[in-house]
């Protein structure tokens, strides 16, 4: 290969460093340029994806406000802040609270399944789920995303609190396919029991922890409507 160095056999260390330096500089400029150019489109895509998920699980919602759920209660945050578990409050056209969207996750058959689900304080029930991340087996476990019979479970899944308001009155459980008899039970998909049970487990864990907090903070959520 041709080399610019006068010592054609062994170029000086300086020229090696200079070459790498120049190439790295070109590289850096290109990457920064493209990053700056694509950033608005990427953020917009993320926002659209998030809102589509929120509005799927909260029927009737047209706008949303993000909150961070902390020990002290709810704190309003914007899209950029990512720390801590988040609560998305959805409001309809007239500005009334339709419900809150929450994230939940649990180990599925292949890997962790992450979902977003909607909770309506008005009916004390879960109003819908949408899968954010899943690697479940195509044709079997991935039916948790598409099977209409399974998704019907989450149109009004009972999530009432007990008398003290500290826990759910009835634990959310997944039951065998065709055995659902109570509004807090989830009818499993036959052939995808592990994935169905993972959904039940993650909903129960998340609901036990967050529903009591949400109910205490309901005032704050409804105040934000204006």
């Amino acid at each position: 290969m041709n080399s610019p160095s006068p010592h054609s056999t062994q170029p000086s260390a300086l020229s090696l460093i200079a070459t790498l330096g120049v190439v790295a500089l070109i590289s850096g400029v290109l990457v920064v340029l493209v990053y700056q150019l694509t950033l608005p489109a990427i953020l917009e895509n993320r926002r659209i994806a998030l809102e589509r998920a929120i509005f799927t699980v909260l029927p009737g919602a047209r706008s949303r406000i993000n909150f961070a759920l902390t020990a002290e209660g709810l704190e309003r945050i914007d899209d950029q802040q990512t720390d801590g578990p988040r609560v998305y409050a959805g409001y309809d056209l007239s500005g009334k609270l339709t419900g809150v969207a929450l994230e939940a996750s649990a180990q599925g058959y292949q890997d962790i399944i992450r979902i977003l689900y909607g909770y309506s304080p008005k009916c004390s029930c879960i109003t819908g789920i949408t899968v954010l991340e899943s690697k479940e087996t195509p044709g079997l476990g991935d039916k948790i995303e598409t099977d209409p019979e399974f998704l019907v479970n989450f149109e009004a899944l009972d999530g009432r609190l007990n008398a003290t308001g500290e826990r759910l009155n009835n634990e959310i459980v997944t039951v065998k396919h065709g055995k659902k008899s109570n509004p807090w039970e989830i009818d499993a998909i036959s052939g995808a029991t592990v994935s169905s049970k993972a959904i039940g487990r993650m909903l129960n864990n998340s609901a036990q922890k967050t529903f009591p907090l949400i109910m205490q903070q309901l005032q704050k959520l409804t105040q934000e409507e204006s």
Partner: protein, 220 residues
Amino acid sequence: MVDLHPNKPITLETFTRGIWEENPVFVMLLGMCPVLAVTNSGANALAMGIATTFVLVCSSILVSLLRHRIPKQVRIATYIVIIATFVTIVDYVIQAISLELYRALGAFIQLIVVNCIILGRAESYASKHRPSKAIINALGTGLGFTIALLCLGLVRELLGSGALFGINIFGDSFQPWAIMILPPGGFFVLGTWLLLFSWMRLRKEGKPTSQEKEAGYHEH
């Protein structure tokens, strides 16, 4: 793969070589990782093919332009920096176009950096030829790779989900072969294609042209 006459004019062969005689997947068996991993649908295969072709062409241009400036001792490091730059660019652009596509392709976008087809082209072709030739050759190789990905992706999507580019072909009565969109399906389909291509080459060898024989052997 070494072209014996770097100053030879550009011919159609400069372009078609990467598609047929030196097809990166079916002949050289390079880049098997994305070939098997992201070809579970036609759209994913096409996107991966385009992304790889873009990186291949851009890095070939830059390597070819800098070919007299890069000292031999640091050439591999330089090529990797150049390739990684264009992969990062592709990564951002795909995120800007569609997040769904970005999720479907997953880590395999970033892994284009270590795709040996690209480093191989930079080392064995772009670093020895003028930019115009390097572009044509890179385009041919990229197209060959894209075609190979599509060969796998279309078959796997058709059998595995009964659709082509997301459009249902067989109707609701078709029971999809889920295995085809799972990893083993990639091996099955690749094996079948390799069989078909070897058979076609063997048949052609009955009446080989001189040019073909040369191209087929001196690379190994």
